[in-house]
């Protein structure tokens, strides 16, 4: 009996040791690219004979290699995971394990991998705001050099010039590219056309506020519309409120404040003066300026007219709320505009979505048009290759696959994102434009008014510092004014600690 016990223990020990070491570094379960029924059609098969054979050939030395990548679980990334990765695998025989996870987790995993150099990921999602940090810390492979050294891996129709100016965000001072964009969109305002065009509502609104109901142009107008619809919803027993607010006690609220609400108040680059690296107005910054405080106070007051889930809403929930018909207007990322306006399986407001510029304070539009400022957030991301990747060649091929010109139309339809100028004229996009109330035209014609996040290598750290205070403004623990004062002061201190400014 005792011998048996001994043998059992030894057996289990051996098994677990063997299992452990055989699993170190490799995947225990087949890749996770099984998808739910994709909502869009497969990537077009045109030119398959000519283009297809180039890809298969170029990938021949890497057949059966597995590359691993990580991205955020948003519509464009899911499209890549569900459709593009699959077609790539079929065409080239390279396995793609595309991990799609939450924003927090994605960053955590990516940064750890690249900082530590473990080489877990072969391609990573680089959001427009974090590229500066990655460049500063030299996490990424220089794609320009890589492509020059490996011309056989470069697709002849890659056409780098066709990319919109968005790609410039992913270049270093010498113009070398570190990521190829796969998604870009504006954060605009969506509104409920059906409600705005309803005669009864229009009359009631005019009666109460004295002007004709239309998408808001100023903060005051936005506020009035929000109040009106919240009351309307209550009076008519509807689950309807006046606006969405991205107010979870989570970094997402920071982004809505600093990239979508403060710029319309003329506060750019988070209110940090990029000459002396100060955020307090006493030292030349603007974070605690009166305009900033006014804008933040306005935004916080909008919580009164937002559905109850607003204080638990990050980007996804805001889109979901709007798509569930719970808000009459909202600041929503363009990547969600397409599915909210067209996908009946996920949205109840299909066909009733209007697109408008976010409300602005006086003079800001003129500043933006003159190139001195901006009115909102031009967001997006690229795929890049970590320095420590073990399969950069195969990863490079996959990234180019995702950037294929002939895929962009369907891709745009699925994820309402555009990264190539040629895509604006793609028939699919033109057709979609009407269904999305001209969002793509707006993107094409007014994209220049929007800007991405400021080029701060310390992006994540300072965000953590600031958002600790802004979330207290959301709950009322601090007033908007106090929150920005505290945030500006803390930012000054932290920047000095990081080596910026004195």
């Amino acid at each position: 009996m005792k011998k048996l016990l001994l043998w059992i223990v030894v057996l289990m020990l051996t098994v677990s040791v063997v299992a452990t070491f055989s699993l170190v570094g490799c995947k225990a379960v087949p890749e996770a690219v099984e998808a739910e029924k994709p909502v869009v059609e497969e990537a077009p098969a045109e030119e398959e004979e000519v283009a297809g054979s180039w890809w298969a050939q170029a990938a021949a030395p890497y057949k059966d290699v597995t590359i691993k990548g990580i991205s955020e679980s948003t519509p464009p990334s899911k499209y890549m995971q569900e459709v593009l990765a699959k077609s790539f695998m079929e065409e080239t025989g390279i396995n793609v394990e595309f991990e799609v996870t939450s924003w927090d987790e994605m960053y955590d995993k990516e940064i750890k991998d690249m900082e530590v150099g473990t080489g877990i990921y072969d391609f990573v999602y680089i959001e427009q705001d974090i590229i500066f940090s990655y460049l500063h810390n030299e996490y990424l492979l220089d794609m320009t050099n890589f492509m020059n050294e490996n011309p056989e891996l470069v697709f002849d129709d890659l056409d780098m010039d066709d990319f919109t100016s968005f790609i410039n965000d992913f270049k270093d001072d010498e113009g070398h590219v570190y990521g190829l964009p796969f998604e870009a969109f504006l954060k605009i305002c969506l509104y409920r056309k059906d409600l705005f065009e309803n005669k009864e509502i229009q009359d009631a609104f005019k009666g109460e506020y004295g002007w004709d109901l239309r998408p808001a142009v100023t903060f005051d107008e936005y506020g009035q519309i929000a109040k009106f619809f919240t009351e309307w919803g209550k009076d008519n027993d509807m689950e309807l409120w006046g606006t969405t607010v991205q107010a979870a006690s989570h970094p997402s609220s920071f982004y809505e404040i600093f990239e979508t609400i403060l710029p319309p108040a003329g506060v750019y680059n988070w209110g940090i003066n990029m000459e002396n690296w100060k955020a307090t107005s006493a030292d030349g910054g603007a974070m605690d300026s009166d305009k900033a405080k006014e804008a933040l106070a306005f935004w916080v007051s909008m919580l009164d007219y937002a559905p109850p889930e607003a204080t638990s809403s990050t980007w996804d929930e805001v889109a979901a709320s709007f798509a569930a018909g719970r808000a009459a207007q909202g600041w929503v990322y363009g990547e969600n505009a397409a599915w909210i306006a067209t996908n009946a399986e996920k949205s109840v407001v299909v066909g009733n979505v209007g697109v408008a510029r976010p409300p602005l304070m006086e003079g800001v539009l003129e500043e933006a048009e003159a190139g001195e400022g901006y009115i909102g957030y031009y967001d997006g991301g690229a795929l890049g290759i970590p320095h420590c990747s073990k399969n950069p060649e195969a990863a490079m091929l996959f990234i180019q696959w995702v950037c294929r010109k002939d895929f962009q139309g369907e891709f745009a339809k699925a994820g309402s994102r555009i990264v190539r100028t040629s895509t604006f004229d793609d028939p699919i996009v033109l057709a979609m434009d009407k269904e999305v109330d001209g969002y793509y035209s707006m993107f094409k014609n007014e994209g220049y008014l929007y800007k991405g996040a400021p080029p701060f290598p310390f992006h994540a750290t300072i965000r953590e510092v600031i958002y600790t205070y802004t979330i207290q403004a959301i709950t009322g623990e601090m007033t908007a004014s106090e929150a920005l004062d505290a945030a500006a002061k803390a930012t000054n201190e932290e920047l000095v600690k990081l080596g910026y400014g004195k």
Binding site: D104, Y107, D108, I111, E115, S133, H136, N137, A248, S249, H250, P251, L303, P308, E309, T311, S312, P457, F458, H459, A460, T461, E464, V465, T468, I471, Q472, I474, T475, G476, E477, K497, L498, G499, Y500
Partner: protein, 291 residues
């Protein structure tokens, strides 16, 4: 006669592992606390900061606030749990049929992963989804832990009570059942009533158990992270940002390694002090009881 070499040999694996996992990291964290180190600072790498981090921590209102919140949370949860636990232990002492069954159910929360507990409570209190806000709404009470700091705080307290009261109960049960009979018998002979017995005999005899449990709970409550993280993420605002969550946020998303290490060292210091208090007071009370 006993070969101490064999003894050390036997202890070797354990000591090696513990030194590797326990001592080395502690020394490391102590070391890093003296530097300024942020992954994304202008000049990469560590730069000497001496006692600066510690000096700053003393005045760091965020850090102190999170310590304070954690302390308040601890006081509330532990005191309520102790009282409830003792009461329930008495109830469980009854020799009625099925008591074993109830006891098993009652100890369920102790085995569930804290993060799953947070998930379950979050699902219960989610506006629009959970029964708690829904039914409270019906009686006119606006329950939204994403919005109201007080509510979120009290929800974490209640969740912790749900989680840990069984611990107190079972500990008392264990303690009660191992008490010697003689003091009770003599008390009964002397004509003491139930409450007198409780107060003057049971509780003093249980002092070691009470102290052990009290200290363990205090230390565990101070370092809570998983459940609260899952339930509120530290929010709304900073209402439920207890010290564990605060340190985690400073070290990982903020990548402020130097400062985070200094924080860890201070918290570790408190832990050591508390542990020392625990051990001395328990062994002290054991001696008293033995008399």
């Amino acid at each position: 006669m006993k070969s101490t070499r064999t003894a050390w040999l036997f202890m070797m694996p354990t000591l090696v592992i513990l030194v590797f996992i326990g001592l080395v990291p502690f020394i490391y964290v102590l070391y890093i606390g003296f530097f300024d180190w942020n992954l994304f600072s202008k000049i990469r790498g560590m730069s000497w900061a001496g006692l600066n981090n510690y000096r700053k921590l003393v005045f760091d209102s965020d850090f102190n606030a999170s310590l304070g919140r954690g302390a308040l949370f601890t006081v509330l949860t532990v005191s309520i749990e102790m009282v409830l636990g003792i009461l329930l232990a008495n109830l469980l002492m009854m020799k009625i049929k099925g008591i074993k069954f109830f006891r098993a159910i009652h100890s369920l929360p102790l085995t569930v992963a804290p993060i799953a507990i947070g998930a379950a409570w979050r699902l219960m209190t989610l506006p629009g989804l959970g029964p708690v806000p829904y039914y409270l709404q019906k009686i006119g009470f606006d329950f939204n832990i994403g919005r109201y700091a007080q509510q979120a705080f009290f929800t974490t307290v209640i969740m912790d009570i749900w989680h840990w009261t069984p611990f107190i109960t079972l500990a008392f049960l264990a303690g009660l059942s191992s008490l010697p009979k003689s003091p009770f018998e003599s008390a009964m002979v002397d004509g003491a009533n139930r409450w007198q017995i409780q107060l003057h005999i049971t509780l003093p005899l249980l002092k070691p158990v009470i102290l052990t449990v009290l200290f363990l709970r205090i230390m565990d409550a101070l370092r809570i992270v998983d459940e609260v993280w899952m339930l509120t993420g530290g929010g709304p605002g900073t209402a439920t940002r207890y010290i564990g969550i605060h340190i985690w946020r400073v070290v990982f998303p903020k990548t402020d390694y130097g400062y985070g290490s200094a924080m860890s060292v201070i918290v570790l210091y408190f832990t050591i002090v508390l542990t020392w208090l625990l051990i001395t007071s328990v062994s002290q009370s054991r001696k008293e009881v033995a008399k």
